[in-house]
Symmetry: C2
Subunit: 425 residues, 2 copies
């Protein structure tokens, strides 16, 4: 039985500050749950901070080579040097708790193998969905299930923007600006807005949920910056809501993984998840459909997940228990390209207001066996002599749909393919 | 390291059959996760069943005195003899996994103390919310949080009935009959319909979430059988939905716990949980608001939770690890009587169609400082000479509201107090 457990914290930014505060305020609960005192020994932070200077260091060696530190909490964010630090911590026999989605998504398989080899833990509940317990249920509570689908709203910034576009008829740029003013979007919002952040999180969720390795570069990714107020208007008219979903499915032993805006029916619970909230829907063969909903970011929710991981690692250390690895060892599974996807599509285009255009478009679709479920044609704008055509298709192969789009673009009457949005229902 | 772990299953009804099937079909996953073979050794079932007769016994001694059985899965349901069997299993040093909400709600504190004393596990994830991981997050993932509120839709039968009443304008008796025809309600539906089932589950959720003991008899309970189609109509008119909620709050160190129909705003996610689904919303000081949603009953979802508990107990046995008890030791906390409640109320009554009635009612409320937020008075029914008055109050003390109701009933002009429904927002 250990006498005490030492923690090294890397990074005292927003989340790091939250963890520092929560660890200080809740140390009695943590000590009791772990079964021995848990002490924060060193904090790596190069910026000036208002914390006991004896705790602060600018030299990572003070953590990575500190014999009194058993658990490293990595909250630097970004790929480098976080990846190198985590790797070295694990190699030196230290346990690691991190919120770093990028490092986990890109290097999770390698790092987990090192952790296994060294008999230490690498925990990352906080990397997806902030404080929402997601990996704990997937790794433990739902372990016996075969997960068939994951639908996730896992980026609060984009969900906030889409909520305002949908509810208030804002255009993207206006909603983004509001999000930036409120601190929900960064000055350079591309990581969120282009879907990259969601891609990292989906790589982690799908890898854990499907007991395999899904890499971010295997995930088809499309952001929300092309969405227009008009798309939300037509979506409503057709009974849908638009959300940026991270989707992963297991189909015949292969994995499908993609992040892009989707039409989902208005009466789906996911359609009603508004603002910066996150929600992850998983479907298992025994448990059926589950949804986990909560705040996906922020210092306090993330601290909740970090400290939960620290407690579970601490308990293993205190009880001398072997870290439980690979409750279900990962199996390699092929990831299908998006071109294999079969789904329904919403297509909005601007065309010249002249006879026969719809017939030309319908022929292009029909030639590829893409059948049309419904068409909305709006009256022409007299000034520009253009009309709007909105088409909902029946399920079609993505490959054929892209071919059809390419051909439509060549039609002289087609002014612009404004948007193509996939439908999930 | 143990060579194998033996299971004794009590009860091969709907849920027991599901667990039997899942354990058989998924034994490779279970063995791998536990780290040694897990074998079902005996099943207690007195009715004839189509299972290997060598496994079946009618004598509970074959499980409780069987040296080859380490874990007892209790799925008999009901208080007796399940309580006695669980107690004896624990006293004999066996671990117990159960879905028995009634036994846990009534005897959880005693049984957990015995388990602690004997160094064995008593796990009951399946007792609340079927397959939804609820106790695992509350006991582990959210451990460091102070949970302030629990709002739970945890009875699928009543939620199904309320959904049909709300969406289709059915009266209670008709919706109940539909639920019975579909197998969602029992022939004697009182346990569900009168809220008792939800009370047991809330006792468990509140005890676990608040780290204390809340007994079912301390929970104010009111069922749904008095709700009428008219209440749903007025609820909609006022912007609300009606749900049977199990509510627990921590207020100044005391616990508030109650099960009754409530008005909740239509735009709350809980208002949109339809059919037999369950949803539990918890709010923690760090994590904020979380919702867990899924199927709260059924053989397969319940099996998912049971087997998850079996795996976690099995891992402890296989690794020789001490069962982790009392991550946060329970503290006694007072439970406030419902008369202390302060909330808004919806009040529907039928009155004689004559001048001055509303003034009399308003005076009775005003005398107790209950202020009226809005009034709907519907035109009189010519035949019976009665009018309908619907009142929404501002927050008021339950005690005063009940006094006011008693006095209103004495008014000659008041024909009937049709319903009083509390509001949560």
């Amino acid at each position: 039985m250990k006498k005490s457990i030492g923690i090294g914290l890397m990074g005292l930014g927003t989340v790091g500050g939250g963890v520092f505060k929560a660890l200080s305020e809740k140390n009695r609960i943590v000590d009791q749950a772990v079964g021995c005192p848990v002490a924060l020994r060193k904090i790596l932070e190069r910026r000036p901070v208002a914390v006991d200077p004896g705790l602060i260091t600018k030299d990572v060696r003070d953590i990575l080579a500190n014999p009194e530190i058993d658990i490293v909490i990595e909250l630097l964010g970004g790929e480098h040097p976080a990846y190198e630090y985590i790797k070295e911590a694990l190699l030196s026999g230290r346990h690691v708790v991190t919120a770093n989605k990028e490092v986990l998504a890109k290097h999770g398989t390698e790092l987990l193998a090192i952790a296994k080899d060294k008999g230490v833990a690498l925990q990352f509940e906080a990397s997806v969905g902030g404080g929402i317990p997601l990996l704990l249920p997937l790794q433990h509570g739902l372990l016996v299930n075969e997960i068939s689908t994951i639908y996730a709203i896992i980026n609060g910034t984009t969900n906030y923007i889409l909520t305002r576009m949908s509810q208030e008829g804002m255009e993207f740029a206006v909603a983004l600006k509001k999000a930036q003013e409120l601190g929900y979007a960064e000055a350079d919002p591309s990581n969120d807005v282009e879907g990259r952040d969601a891609t990292y999180k989906l790589a982690i969720l799908a890898s854990v949920g499907f007991h395999t390795t899904v890499k971010p570069e295997q995930i088809y990714c499309e952001g929300i910056s092309r969405l227009a107020e008009a798309d939300f208007r037509y979506a409503k008219e057709l009974g849908y809501e638009i959300k940026l979903l991270a989707i992963a499915k297991q189909v015949n032993g292969a994995v499908e993984a993609r992040v892009h805006p989707v039409f989902i029916p208005q009466d789906f619970l996911l359609a009603k998840v508004g603002g910066v909230y996150n929600a992850v829907q998983v479907e298992g063969d025994l448990v059926g459909k589950l949804i986990f909903y909560g705040r996906g970011a922020g210092a306090q929710p993330t601290s909740s997940a970090i400290i939960s991981d620290v407690i579970s690692v601490g308990q293993s250390i205190a009880s001398g228990k072997k870290i439980p690895f690979e409750m279900r060892p990962p199996q390699p599974k092929p990831v299908r390209p998006v071109s294999d996807l079969k789904t329904r599509y919403y297509l909005r285009m601007s065309v010249a207001d002249q006879p026969g255009v719809l017939a030309q478009i319908a022929r292009i679709l029909g030639d590829r066996s893409i059948s049309i479920a419904s068409v909305i044609q709006k009256e022409a704008d007299m000034a520009t002599q253009t009309a709007v055509i909105v088409i909902m298709t029946h399920p079609a192969r993505e490959e054929f749909m892209q071919q059809a789009l390419a051909e439509m673009k060549k039609l002289p009457a087609v002014r612009e393919i404004c948007n193509l949005i996939r439908v999930e229902e």
